[in-house]
Symmetry: C2
Subunit: 141 residues, 2 copies
Amino acid sequence: MHERGVRVTPQRAHIWRVLVETGDHFTAEGIRERVGGFLPGLELSTVYRSLEALRAAGLVSESRLPGEPKVFEARPASHPHLVCDGCDRILHPDPEVGRRMMEALDADAGGFVVRELHVMARGICAECAGGGEGAAGSSMA
Amino acid sequence: MHERGVRVTPQRAHIWRVLVETGDHFTAEGIRERVGGFLPGLELSTVYRSLEALRAAGLVSESRLPGEPKVFEARPASHPHLVCDGCDRILHPDPEVGRRMMEALDADAGGFVVRELHVMARGICAECAGGGEGAAGSSMA
DNA sequence: GTGATTGCAAAAGGTTTGCAGGGAC
DNA sequence: GTCCCTGCAAACCTTTTGCAATCAC
């Protein structure tokens, strides 16, 4: 963090720690909840500003999933998010998938150099397809 | 539109027309501006509701790009959006690219059936990489 | 004629910003 | 010591919702 020219504060350290230790993605609010145990007074605006600082330094990537607000995670994300229309869960397939998609894109992007890749797919997960499900929509969009 | 069970109103017809004729994607506000010439009183809330109706009918897809609010376009999008960090333009590569990425995903999604695919990549377009550019940010994130 | 749809207006988020005090370097 | 960062509060913007009149079917 120092190395990236980001000034280190307790708030930023905790936020960063949550992202790195879980390796998961969170909304700003979600991060505040997690860090709240250690820094009770942590403000949402501080979370946003810290995340912005980390993002500018290339330590954090931000993306948007359908219903939810912005989500943030450590390091360039680049892995696909599969949103199931049946159960609304968000699945993370094998990282290999992301790599292949990145390759497919690179190969034919006409000189565009990809730095960050965000993939979001909607569909039906294996469980919902196999058995019963709740709110599946019309099939082929 | 009738065939999809969507009630046809002037508002919806114009909105749909903008999306189809341009084949481009717009924000709700952008759509209102375009349609405004024909339907001066068109409300933003109506735009949102119309788009939702069209989306539910499978005629429109909605996605989210980083800075911008929701964007809508006709028919299942499924094509990658390449956002250039140099010039901020949004490029649409060869549809073939989308197909390949879809295949890459399908092949290894562990039984997840993909219905709609949204791809957003940030990077540098060929023009900005090659020559001079305007508002390039820091290069390697 | 009936029920969905529109315009209007207000609410409900999520995200950003101004400011003064305090902290990192 | 200086400048950046934080908390607090308010603003901003997009998106959603309630209601009565209107329109499509």
